[in-house]
């Protein structure tokens, strides 16, 4: 066998690597245009600093340790809030999807609460918790709860009844039916909930941090505004974008791993 034969066809065109890079072309082009516009004075630096200035501000904050500390604090709040709200939402979604009684008991209440914008609770939350960690965690958990609750419930209710009947015919116990049929069937919908929830997670956290916090990315941006450090403000916004992308990539990866059976995730 010759050397060329042993190389898979796709690899020989270098396609997989190009696929990974291609998505970054647009953000890069935007940054380049932005830099040029700043350098030739099209955009005044008081309105929008050049990307190089933003990078410089980032570098300084990185050296002082402030950036890493704030990112870490925000990341920690986001994950803990997500875990708390997500697990409660998941539990309610399971309970109400599987039990008529539980659904009758709680669904109406939850639907009412859902229609209150959770950020409207900020004044109340500050009164309850002060500007403590728990205030932020509470808000994030509340925001994350509903998309996960709704999509888990929807996923369980829309599992193909023919498959459930099949499982019963083949003598599956309730536990086995859940593990083999209902949960895997609801999983794609649960992931939709997770991705929605990740977006809401960042949104809630940033709003909460800009209003009531003494650390974190939102706090860093607010402080910078006080001192007219517009480059730091822009830096914070760029970091939000990157963190959002990171969360999305992570959930996508998890989807690829657990939904390998799904035609949408199969590699050709």
């Amino acid at each position: 066998m010759s050397l060329i034969d042993s190389i898979p066809l796709r690899r020989s065109f270098g396609l997989p690597r190009a696929d990974g890079l291609i998505q970054w072309i647009v953000p890069l082009v935007i940054i380049v245009i932005w830099q040029i516009a700043s350098v030739i004075g099209l955009v005044p630096t008081r309105v929008l600093p050049a990307p190089s200035d933003v990078a410089l501000a980032g570098w300084k904050l990185l050296l002082s340790g402030e950036l890493v500390r704030n990112i870490w604090v925000s990341f920690w709040r986001a994950s803990i809030g997500f875990l708390i709200g997500g697990s409660i939402g998941f539990a309610f979604g399971l309970a109400n999807g599987l039990s008529q009684l539980s659904a009758k008991l709680t669904d109406t209440t939850l639907q009412m609460v859902r229609n209150v914008p959770h950020l409207a609770l900020i004044p109340l939350v500050i009164l309850w918790f002060g500007i403590d960690e728990s205030a932020k965690l509470f808000l994030v958990a509340l925001g994350v709860f509903f998309p996960i609750y709704l999509n888990t419930l929807h996923g369980i209710r829309t599992v193909d009844p023919q498959l459930i009947e099949m499982g019963r015919i083949y003598g599956m116990s309730d536990g086995e039916l859940f593990r083999r049929v209902i949960f895997p069937g609801a999983l794609p919908s649960i992931f939709v909930g997770i991705r929605f929830a990740l977006g809401i997670m960042w949104l809630t956290l940033i709003v909460a941090e800009t209003i009531a916090a003494s650390s974190g990315l939102g706090y860093m941006a607010m402080q910078a505004r006080e001192f007219m450090l517009i480059d730091v403000v822009v830096l914070s916004i760029l970091i939000y974008a990157l963190l959002g992308k990171l969360a999305d990539t992570a959930s996508h990866l998890l989807e690829r791993l657990t939904l390998a059976w799904h035609p949408a995730f199969q590699k050709r």
């Binding site: 023919q162 498959l163 009947e165 099949m166 499982g167 015919i169 083949y170 003598g171 599956m172 083999r180 049929v181 895997p184 069937g185 999983l187 939904l259 390998a260 059976w261 799904h262 035609p263 199969q266």
Partner: protein, 274 residues
């Protein structure tokens, strides 16, 4: 065993793949069919009385086809036999105490779990024996039986319609059922796949000796496969025809065509009366 000259290639291959062990295994433990007796069976859905008193005896190992127009109650009868719905009045008995694994159903849709590989889908059919040591070899044996041993690690989504239905057949066969009920299992397949599936059904029925009950709207299929064809009209058995043609049956032979014609006339004459 029958040999037909015009077997599709896939089927010829799948026969060649049956191992000697598989054959021996079958002889070791012949899964004998269960007889089935139905007395004055009735079933209504709301005000709609679907079955109005069915009396029927099916001897062990017989291949019975049930035909009739849509809405005549044939699928309901099958679901009652399989224990999927509750009986309103009357009785169904299997001669002796039947375990749940003894009675299996195959539907028009394959109903495979999309998130389980082909082999685990077949293992589902083992019922309570799923966790046992020999679950794997038994499932593999059933897959070999339907000629899909090489697809064991595939996801169902990559299989063709006919292949999915064969996996569903393997899942129904893996517990070595004594009664196998088919609810139009070939209804959604194309004509050629249908014919090769019909041959497969006939072969596994002959090999394993279960009692087969096939609900179909295709009279030609009923006549080609069954020992006996029941026509159901308005919730009652209107006609009970025995098919004596020797097996292997030749499709389109004069004898089968004549029988098909007479059953069709029976089905259509009901139309004229109403």
């Amino acid at each position: 065993m029958q040999t037909a000259l015009l077997l599709p290639e896939t089927e010829r291959n799948e026969r060649a793949r049956i191992t000697p062990q598989a054959r021996r295994r079958r002889e070791d433990r012949p899964a004998l069919g269960l007889p089935l007796t139905i007395r004055n069976l009735r079933k209504s859905f709301g005000d709609n009385e679907v079955l109005r008193g069915i009396d029927l005896h099916i001897p062990a190992g017989q291949f019975v086809a049930i035909v009739g127009k849509s809405g005549c109650g044939k699928s309901t009868l099958l679901r009652l036999i399989a224990g999927l719905d509750k009986i309103d009045a009357g009785a169904i008995s299997f001669g002796e105490a039947a375990r749940p694994e003894d009675i299996r159903v195959m539907f028009q849709e394959p109903r495979l779990l999309p998130w389980a590989r082909v082999l685990s889908n077949v293992e589902v059919g083992l019922g309570r024996d799923r966790a046992s040591q020999d679950a794997h070899p038994r499932a593999e044996h059933a897959l070999t039986e339907v000629g899909l041993a090489d697809k064991r690690d595939q996801w169902p989504s990559v299989l063709s319609g006919g292949q999915k239905q064969r996996v569903a057949l393997a899942r129904a066969l893996v517990s070595q059922p004594r009664v196998l009920a088919f609810d139009e299992p070939l209804g959604a397949l194309d004509a050629l796949t249908r014919i090769s599936m019909q041959r497969l059904l006939e072969r596994v029925w002959r090999d394993q000796g279960f009692t087969a009950i096939l609900v179909t709207h295709d009279v030609a299929e009923a006549v080609a496969l069954a020992d006996r064809v029941l026509v159901i009209e308005e919730g009652r058995i209107a006609h009970d025809a025995t098919v004596n043609a020797p097996r292997p049956r030749e499709r389109g032979s004069v004898e089968l065509a004549g029988l098909e014609g007479s059953i069709l006339r029976h089905l259509l004459s009901a139309d004229d009366r109403t």
